[in-house]
């Protein structure tokens, strides 16, 4: 083994690294907690924990500088450190089995957090009584949907995530006979009807856009608020521009146009996740305590149907009684009894069991280690009682 490799190994198995990483993680958690006031919980999670580095933008520029290790980096190094120390330093013996189990639980906890960060998805499903949906919608992310609605049976949909729109790079997709070019993008904007004369002309040339003014707003990071993006999007065919459309999730009216002998619909909407089954809201129940507005029970009775007919049944979702189906968990989230509308939270987290398993392993490991020490201690006491030291 040459010196470089040895140094590398010594670095990753050292206890000093563990201490430094734990100290860094404490600083990270402290800074993130303080920054939650400015950014809110979602942005803080992304910036501090679901990243390799905490980035800081040089004021006045878009250049990001890494200023501190992020959660993934610290967690990743901790994981490597822990595994490396075990592989290199510890020997599996019965007397240390508790310590091993505890550390294995800790490793599983770190891996579980990483997988949750990477795989967990949260969507919502908003239904009115009688309405059927085959998709859930994102709380925070949006997408530009360009839909070929010509076929009377099907819609051919091309979706462009908001992050790609923000890039302003022209997008050409094989299913679209035109390029999509973002002329202007506002991550948060207020829309209002144009007052008439005296305002600068709109960038939009087609659809509803020319009648509307989009004013950029500062991003909001509050947990109970959301950003409403808006973009001016140009569609350009081989013979030139087809027009510039204003798109925003706030614009509910569909904007359609004809091109190449086909009919298209364009709009920005909350990001959708289509499912291989459909849910129909049959009935909402919204009980309150008598004489008050305090909610007592929210329940949604739904019909769950798969296209192949394997499932066609009624399900009841109410508080603390979610529906688990196809790797998804549907929780009763909000209810508007007056308008017979129910909102379900749809969560996919394949690794949701890992924190429970790891905590159980850590607890069991500590108990085992304690018992091993206790039995050793009792054994020693018995031995010394059986053979008391000779008195002078």
């Amino acid at each position: 083994m040459n010196d470089t490799v040895r140094q590398f190994r010594d670095f990753f198995v050292s206890l000093r690294l563990t201490v430094v990483l734990l100290a860094l993680s404490m600083i990270l958690v402290f800074a993130a907690t303080l920054d939650q006031v400015n950014l809110g919980i979602w942005a803080v999670q992304e910036k501090y924990f679901h990243s390799l580095f905490v980035l800081w933008r040089i004021p006045g520029t878009a250049i990001p500088l890494p200023v501190f290790p992020g959660g993934y980096l610290i967690g990743g190094f901790l994981l490597v450190n822990l595994v490396a120390a075990h592989v290199y330093r510890f020997k599996l013996t019965w007397r240390k089995s508790g310590i091993f189990l505890t550390h294995a639980g800790l490793i599983l906890l770190l891996v579980g957090e990483l997988l949750s960060g990477l795989w967990q998805e949260e969507f919502q499903l908003q239904l009115r009584e009688g309405e059927t949906k085959t998709y859930a919608e994102s709380y925070r992310y949006n997408e530009l949907a360009i839909i070929d609605t010509t076929d009377p049976q099907f819609d051919d949909v091309v979706v462009i995530p908001e992050t790609l729109l923000a890039d302003s790079t022209p997008i050409q997709h094989p299913k679209l006979p035109f390029r999509v070019v973002t002329k202007e993008y506002y991550p948060n904007a207020a829309l209002r009807l144009r007052a008439g004369t005296g305002e600068n002309p709109s960038l939009a040339t087609a659809g509803i856009g020319p009648q509307i003014t989009a004013t950029p707003l500062p991003l909001t990071y509050k947990q109970d608020e959301r950003n409403w993006p808006a973009a001016f999007v140009e569609l350009a065919g081989p013979e030139g521009s087809l027009g510039i459309w204003l798109v925003s999730p706030q614009l509910q009216a569909p904007q359609t146009f004809d091109y190449g002998g086909r009919t298209w619909r364009i709009g920005m909407r909350p990001q959708r996740a289509y499912k291989p089954f459909s849910l129909t809201l049959l009935k909402t129940t919204h009980d309150v305590y008598l004489g008050t507005d305090i909610p007592k029970n929210f329940a949604s009775r739904l019909r769950l149907t798969t296209p192949d007919g394997r499932d066609d049944r009624e399900v009841l979702i109410y508080m603390n009684n979610p529906l688990r189906y196809a790797g998804l968990t549907f929780y009763q989230y909000q209810m508007d009894g007056e308008h017979a509308m129910s909102v379900l939270q749809v969560v996919r987290n394949p690794s949701w069991r890992l924190p429970y398993i790891s905590c159980a392993m850590i607890t069991l490991g500590l108990i085992v280690q304690f018992c091993i020490h206790l039995s050793g201690f009792i054994g020693k006491r018995r031995a010394s009682a059986a053979y008391p030291p000779a008195r002078p």
Binding site: V13, G76, L118, F154, A190, T215, Q250, Y274, D293, D336
Partner: protein, 210 residues
Amino acid sequence: MRHRHALLPLVLLTLLTACREAKVESYRVPKEKPEELPPAMAAGASAPAVPGGADMAGTAVPTADGSDLTWTAPAHWKAKPAAAMRKGSFTVPGENGAEADLSITAFPGDVGGELANLNRWRGQIQLAPLSDGDLPGATTRIEQHGLTFVVVDFVNTDAAGPRRILGAIVPYNNATWFFKLSGPAALVAKEKPAFLAFLQTISAPAPSAP
């Protein structure tokens, strides 16, 4: 070479974090109706009658984020197909074919603030903008049903056809709602009591989140 095993998680970690890149996707779905528009925005929608035989028309629409303000409009106001962006829209008929327009819109945030929005309305009837100091004199604040209404009455009598705007701004649920009656000055003046009565019917639903 046991250290190589130890490096594996780091490589995996880097690879895993790199695989969340957004990309353009395409798929085919069974025909969907476009999102249902709120009742007042649907073409040709007429406001449904209130159960119980009241002679007022009731309309309720969702705000941008799904929760509602509700109101009841006077029976002689005619619900009309609203332009996009409107939460509600009514034609207020007057004598000799005169018409005023009642619009209800809602936008997230404070939409630039009270002063900017009031000055926007003033600009629409060719009135000079107000300054911050003019606000208290030009506005009336009404508290009802847990909502704060900033009510204004702007009139331009200098123009050839005098115009008037009766408006109310209501912050609600992290959005700002605008109720605006605009039209010929005489008609809007005549409708002022009906407009103020209409404002009194506006309310927020009881909170229902668990």
